[in-house]
């Protein structure tokens, strides 16, 4: 099928366009430092957005990811600081914190999943609720201020964010790995097919012997784990957590998913589209930093316009076929 498919190609074209603008705007844009910085920064939103691709493909939505990231950061920092007294090995402490983080992410996802499937509350409402809960919990844990990671551990842990392998920072490798795994899971496994089916028509899915509740819950758990992975590489960058951590991540993640061509009502999902979406969003922020033409404060506005234009183009492409 040599037919040109705007739905699939659209995000990639947009990426090239934004990238070209970057090159034109400032010479510094193409410096290797800047490019690897862009990639590393897009990893956070990117990893969260890959989880969101599953949730949205299966017909759900998760608004709680930003608060969840803040909450998990807070838990990790408190845990590591507490373990300082009992465990000598810094590496062991960090590994324990990572395991705890993954566990908390999975459980938080499980809670979202069970509330939507078993208690039959709309995903929008459930995750709006948990969004408030996690945000408030982390503020409480920090007593309204900031939780800071102990410096000794922070020094060791910072390697996770700043370390470089084959010229690329570790977070980029993690992003790539999550994307590849996400792609395989969504497009090549039974679970992925089930996500598409559930998002497309729940009743057909049920009559096709698919355990709809389990599939949906699994997508929320996957989302939780992705948030946790993003947090694991985020904590060493800042070394702290507060009520302001991860604010608006949910919107950026959903924007990345939508720009990538995944349909908000479910049934269609594209992992590489999401990856590209995350890159585009980060690029925009970066370019606005590098130019005086548009104020940096308008970052959100530009992102918003991009999302709306992307969806408009996708709709147009549907109507044609």
């Amino acid at each position: 099928m040599p037919k040109f498919d705007l739905k699939t190609a659209g995000p990639f074209i947009a990426l090239v366009v934004v990238f070209t603008i970057g090159v034109l705007v400032n010479d510094a844009f193409l410096s290797s430092g800047n490019l690897s910085n862009i990639l590393a920064r897009s990893s956070f939103i990117g990893i969260v957005a890959i989880g969101a691709t599953f949730v949205i493909t299966a017909g759900g939505i998760d608004l709680s990811v930003g608060s969840m990231a803040a909450f998990i950061s807070g838990c990790m920092i408190l845990l590591m600081n507490a373990l300082m007294d009992t465990i000598d090995s810094m590496v062991a402490i960090i590994i324990l914190a990572i395991i705890a983080s993954l566990g908390i992410g999975a459980v938080a996802g499980l809670i979202n999943g069970l509330l939507t499937t078993k208690a039959k509350i709309e995903a929008f409402i459930v995750t709006l609720g948990t969004m408030g809960i996690y945000r408030s919990l982390v503020t409480y844990m920090a007593d309204g201020g900031t939780l800071s990671l102990n410096f000794t551990i922070g020094d060791v842990y910072s390697e996770v964010y700043y370390g470089v392998f084959l010229g690329l920072p570790y977070p980029v490798w993690v992003f790539l790995a999550v994307a590849v795994i996400g792609y395989v899971l969504l497009n090549m496994t039974v679970f992925g097919r089930h996500c598409f089916a559930v998002g497309s028509n729940e009743s057909v899915a049920r009559y096709s012997a698919i355990n709809v509740d389990r599939v949906k819950t699994a997508t929320y758990m996957l989302q939780g784990v992705c948030v946790s992975i993003a947090t694991i590489i985020y904590v060493p960058r800042l070394g702290s957590a507060s009520g302001q951590t991860g604010i608006l991540w949910e919107l950026e993640a959903i924007a990345a998913v939508i720009i990538g061509g995944t349909v908000l009502k479910g049934g269609y999902g594209r992992i590489w589209g999401t990856v590209v979406g995350a890159l585009i969003l980060t690029l925009i922020g970066n370019i606005l930093n590098l130019t005086d033409a548009v104020s940096n404060y308008l970052n959100g506005a530009v992102q918003g316009i991009i999302v709306i234009v992307a969806v408009y183009l996708q709709r147009g492409a549907w109507r044609r076929d």
């Binding site: 097919r193 497309s200 057909v204 012997a209 355990n211």
Partner: protein, 525 residues
């Protein structure tokens, strides 16, 4: 036929062609519809009947050809601009093969959708409700105008569609397989109504795969084969065999195959005892033996689907239900359909659009959805998947011009074949099928019946729910008849006979439904 009405309407198409993308599906069709005539369109699945009538009613654009309309006053007018709105203005109303109702609205709201009656400031809901009730009364339907459409069974939705056409003052009424979802009784009511439309000078187009019905009500018959016009004939000149031959292009063998007898030593595969359905006071019991076809008959709404779906855990049983389900002698609880499937039980839903197929997904995606476990370890083996799909396309004779279309673009009958292929790909040994041949042409129907006979011969067991009474009689070893959400009688051998079935189905006769008497034992008298 009533030609005293000289001002009769004539609506015709000439040399009509239609392509979807590069693929042409109608290759030059001529058709003339006259007021006061019932014009049947016959053809195999995928022949192009629905596409043709969608063009007539402006739902699809034609690629080439001419449309003419005349009031019978002599001058005929060529229609250059034709779309759905203009067609409705001209009084051409199509009732789709797949319904077109706003599921969330009420019956009355649907009947007047796009046709609302306005009061001084707001919609005149009261008048619309009263009018809707009148239309439904004419149809002798007891549907509540205030009921939400998504709560209605399919046959009731059909009635709502017809009431909707009445509200639009149709002059050309196009019915695409209206009886596929109706019982015989309901169909007869519809035919009386069509007769009334005919006497009023309405031109009626009627599509059906049930040749009896066509014999009964058609004045003119047009046959399509693979997008070509075979010809238009006076209905009086064609026998049912002629129709089938013209459609298929060859002589057909007998519709029903010989169904092998159930061996005497055959074990009970599925036993359902004392299952209490929601809204029923009497529990139901039945059993199915290896190599047996157990038919379920009854009026629409008699609880056949509800019974099976309760057994399979797709619906909840009534509170306080103490019934049990045993599969091969072992008590089971089919909480999820996946449990049933893993034990070799498969179920074909009659709600093809709502629960059967993902209409906006591809054919292969739909085909393998129920049997993915067979072709995947860690990853799905897409090569194996393609091979299996190709094989199924042959076995079930699924016809499409283009393999890359989504399931919703298959013709109705071919969707049904795809659904059947999807279910059977899981290789179940107990197969429960609800209205399996709905919308399927006579040639393919016969193929499916022969396929069922083969399944039974190789030790599969079948439960067949069908509103097509000849199908139930022609295929079943025993027939359970349901009335008011309970089994009112079980017939076998020579006892399986249309009038007897009807007596149980309408509650005229009722056996004390205790499972000892409903078993597969020899005596039922």
């Amino acid at each position: 036929m009533s030609d005293e009405n000289t001002k009769s309407l004539i609506f015709s198409v000439k040399n009509l062609r239609k392509s979807f993308g590069p693929v042409e599906v109608l290759h030059g069709i001529d058709l003339t519809l006259r007021g006061g005539e019932v014009h049947a369109i016959l053809g195999e699945n995928g022949a192009g009947k629905s596409t043709l009538v969608k063009i007539l009613s402006g739902f699809e654009a034609l690629t080439q050809g001419e449309l003419h309309i005349s009031d019978g006053s002599g001058s005929s007018q060529r229609l250059t601009l034709w779309n759905n709105a203009i067609a409705e203005q001209a009084g051409v109303v199509l009732i789709h093969q797949e319904f077109n109702l706003a599921e969330q609205l009420t019956v009355a709201e649907n009947i007047f959708l796009g046709n609302e009656i306005n009061g001084r400031f707001f919609l005149d809901k009261k008048t619309m409700r009263i009018k809707a009730q009148e239309y439904l009364d004419v149809l002798r339907s007891d549907i509540d105008p205030d009921a939400a459409v998504d709560q209605l069974p399919v046959s009731a939705k059909q009635m709502v569609e017809i009431a909707k056409a009445q509200a639009k003052n149709a002059r050309v009424l196009v019915l695409d397989e209206p009886t596929a979802v109706l019982t015989q009784q309901e169909s007869q009511v519809l035919f009386e109504l069509i007769d009334r439309f005919r006497q009023d000078g309405v031109a009626i187009v009627f599509i059906s795969h049930k040749l009896d019905e066509i014999k009964q009500i058609a004045d003119v018959i047009t046959v399509l084969r693979d997008g070509e016009l075979v010809g238009s004939y006076s209905a009086a000149d064609l026998s049912k065999d002629d129709m089938a031959r013209l459609m298929v292009g060859r002589e057909l063998s007998s519709l029903f195959p010989e169904i092998p007898k159930v061996p005497d030593a055959s074990k009970v595969v599925l036993r359902v005892s004392d299952l209490l359905l929601q809204g029923s006071s009497e529990p139901s019991s039945f059993e199915l033996r290896k190599g047996e076809v157990l038919g379920f008959s009854g009026l629409v709404g008699s609880g056949r689907t509800a019974l099976i779906e309760t057994v399979l855990g797709l619906r909840n049983s009534a509170k306080g239900n103490t019934g049990r389900v045993e599969l091969r002698g072992e008590r089971v609880n089919f909480k999820q359909l996946s449990v049933a499937r893993s034990k070799g039980v498969a179920y074909l839903t009659k709600d093809r659009k709502g629960s059967g197929l993902l209409l906006e997904k591809g054919l292969v995606f739909n085909f393998s959805l129920f049997s993915l476990h067979k072709i995947s370890r860690l990853l799905i083996d897409t090569k194996q998947e393609d091979v299996a799909f190709k094989k199924a396309v042959e076995t079930f004779d699924i016809r499409m011009k283009d393999k890359s279309i989504v399931a919703g673009n298959l013709s109705g009958g071919n969707q049904q074949k795809l659904l059947l292929a999807k279910i059977l790909e899981a290789e179940p040994s107990v197969i429960i099928i609800d209205e399996p041949t709905r919308g399927i042409d006579i040639g393919t129907k016969s193929q499916i019946y022969h396929f069922i006979a083969e399944l039974v011969a190789s030790g599969h067991s079948l439960i067949l729910i069908s509103s097509d009474i000849t199908e139930v009689i022609g295929l079943s070893h025993r027939v359970a008849v349901m009335y008011h959400s309970q089994i009112s009688g079980v017939l076998e051998g020579d006892g399986i006979e249309e009038h007897e079935i009807m007596r149980y189905a309408t509650g005229l006769k009722n056996k004390p439904s205790h499972h000892d008497q409903l078993g597969s034992g020899t005596s039922n008298a």
